[in-house]
């Protein structure tokens, strides 16, 4: 496996509260990695440490063999793009302008024809044509989320870092967005990968190649969905009882988690 992301001994604290503890992770090319865990497990913090939004207290993060601490932010944003849980805007812009901001790391000042084309393609790819010239702050939460994902796609990075990218989306758009991320990651020529923090276990099981289960800031389990999403692990981390059922989606096989009840502590 060609390593795209290599994390060694990553630790992060908010004051005396240690959020991430000794995280070690290798992500190869064309991998779709889902990060699961309860609220406060450190999923968002973990993604922010990979993108230098937060500075880790210890450990190293390497992308394509380069330590991100030694990279300029501009170079790092060519290698990774981050989609936050939500974007609160002070001064709104059109959807086209927001997606164009994804081209920021690639342009000095003037927008080229190629940049225009890439933004238009991305808008079509994510089905945003109907509101491409509407103001960002006039959109619904789900539409905004799709626009910010489009901005990340237009950025054309090697590694996508997506923090709950389907949290505001309806069922159809949840499946649509996950399929599109899957489509990007499956393109062997581009070699892109995605790390997606997500709460929907079934969505993770269906689309991810690999699931990383975070518990109390540490990696509790790391492997394929069927290796990680066991009844015991789910009961241990999420505090719920469940049935894990094998599932078929067309030619691919996956599993479905049916949650039964919370477990009394």
């Amino acid at each position: 496996m060609t390593s795209l992301l290599k994390i060694e001994g990553l630790e992060f604290s908010w004051g005396s509260n240690q959020v991430l503890k000794d995280i070690n992770l290798d992500v190869g090319r064309n991998e779709f990695v889902a990060i699961l865990g309860v609220n406060g497990a450190g999923k968002s913090t973990f993604l922010k440490c990979i993108n230098r939004i937060l500075a880790p207290a210890k450990g190293t993060v390497e992308i394509s063999g380069r330590n991100i601490a030694d990279m300029s932010l501009m170079d790092l944003s060519k290698a990774t793009s981050y989609v936050p849980q939500s974007v609160r805007t002070s001064f709104s812009m059109s959807v086209f302008d927001v997606v164009m901001l994804g081209r920021r790391p690639h342009i000095s000042w003037r927008i080229s024809d190629d940049d225009h084309e890439r933004v238009s393609e991305t808008i079509r790819f994510l089905g945003l044509e109907d509101f491409a010239f509407r103001k960002f702050d006039r959109l619904s939460g789900g539409e905004r989320q799709r626009v910010v994902i489009a901005k990340a796609v237009a950025q054309d990075p090697m590694l996508f870092l997506l923090d709950e990218p389907t949290s505001d989306l309806d069922l159809r758009n949840q499946v649509s967005i996950m399929k599109k991320i899957r489509h990007i990651v499956s393109d062997v020529e581009s070699g892109k990968s995605a790390i997606v923090a997500i709460h929907d276990i079934n969505m993770a099981a269906r689309f991810a190649d690999r699931v990383v289960l975070l518990d109390g800031g540490s990696i509790k389990a790391d492997g394929t969905p069927s290796e990680v999403l066991t009844e015991a692990n789910i009961a241990d981390v999420f505090g719920v009882s469940c049935d894990v059922i094998p599932e078929e989606y067309g030619l691919s096989s996956s599993l479905q988690v049916l949650v039964k009840d919370e477990i009394e502590k």
Partner: protein
């Protein structure tokens, strides 16, 4: 080319045409403003003919045109552009629509410097006492901004709060000075605080214009970074390759410098730095690549219009531009905001 890209490019061209039209209207207004005044020896037509060399005026007429009206009109254009640009930059990098060039305490610093010169007679350059002090004290505020920017994890709110603190401290010291000032000193200090375009001489205006014209391209350099910062805040900016801390510090220093250069010579003129960027946002949106030039031309137009009305409406009495801007611009600004409240 794709139909979406085509529409975007067409919209951009329309916006550039709007900016060019406001620019042309400002230049035309400048020519008209040059012809307006209380002098009985000069009418508008003669002024324009003398200006363009079609008529040779008397020494008095030439002096009125080139030594009184020209510096004033040029100062309105340059000062309006500088303060409006500074306001647009500061609103964007602090992500706050309520911010104006006076928010960071630069103006309060300048007022404190002026008060030192007027009340205590203390200045480093005696024959340019008020201007030199106002500029020097506002530079001290710029220094505080740089120091603050060099600290780790300083937020946009921290800059605003420090600016408010500086404003309160400076205000308290100026109030103490006014308490002990003579009537003549009090009058001079109050008059300085009104903000007027009559103070800078032609050589001052040339110097100010040179400095502002040199700084303007730096403002444009930050346009992309301001777009990312003003749209989505710090995390969004970092993920787009922009370092919010150093970008914010550099932009604030630039806008504080532009503000200092103007208000050291004119006194306090605040409203244009708040209103012109918002008027521009209503017309062409929030893309800083267009917002910066648009704010500059709107600022010039607003300042020129307010000053021309101020010196002609009750001629020969001249109402300072700082007052006129608030009287004329305030209601117009509110009207625009209310008209567009449903269309961001």
């Amino acid at each position: 080319m794709d139909s979406i890209s085509k529409k975007y490019i067409e919209d951009s061209r329309t916006q550039v045409t709007i900016i060019a039209s406001v620019c042309a209207a400002t230049l035309l207004s400048a020519v008209i403003a040059m012809g307006l005044g209380s002098s009985s020896t000069l009418d508008s037509i003669s002024t324009i003919k003398i200006m363009f060399g079609l008529e040779s005026g008397s020494d008095l007429q030439s002096a009125i045109i080139w030594e009184l009206r020209f510096p004033r009109v040029l100062m309105a254009i340059i000062g309006g552009a500088a303060l409006a640009t500074a306001g647009a930059l500061m609103q964007g990098c602090l992500g706050n629509p309520l911010v104006s060039p006076l928010t960071l305490g630069v103006a309060s610093g300048a007022a404190l410097g002026a008060a030192f010169a007027i009340v205590l007679g203390i200045s480093i350059i005696p024959n340019l006492a008020i201007v030199a002090n106002a500029f020097l004290f506002s530079l001290v505020v710029v220094g505080i901004i740089i120091q603050l920017g060099n600290m780790r994890s300083v937020s946009a709110e921290s800059y605003i709060l420090v600016g408010i603190a500086i404003t309160f401290i400076s205000g308290a010291i100026v109030s103490t000075f006014t308490y002990f000032a003579t009537d003549a000193q009090l009058s001079q200090l109050t008059h300085w605080s009104f903000g007027s375009l009559s103070r800078p001489s032609l050589s001052n205006v040339v110097w100010i214009s040179g400095a502002i014209i040199c700084l303007m391209p730096s403002a444009m350099k930050w346009a992309w970074d301001l777009n990312t910062l003003s749209l989505g805040g710090d995390d969004f900016a970092i993920s787009s390759g922009v370092d919010p801390s150093s970008t914010r510090r550099n932009i604030l220093v630039l806008s504080a410098l532009m503000t200092s250069i103007v208000i050291a010579f004119t006194g306090l003129i605040g409203f244009v730095g708040l209103a012109a960027p918002h008027m521009s946002r209503l017309v062409i949106g929030n893309d800083y690549r267009k917002l910066i030039p648009c704010s500059a031309v709107f600022g010039s137009f607003l300042m020129l219009f307010a000053d021309t009305v101020g010196r002609t409406i009750f001629a020969p009495v001249i109402i300072p531009v700082g007052i006129m801007l608030a009287i004329i611009g305030g209601p117009f600004f509110m009207y625009l905001l209310l008209q567009n409240r449903g269309v961001s």
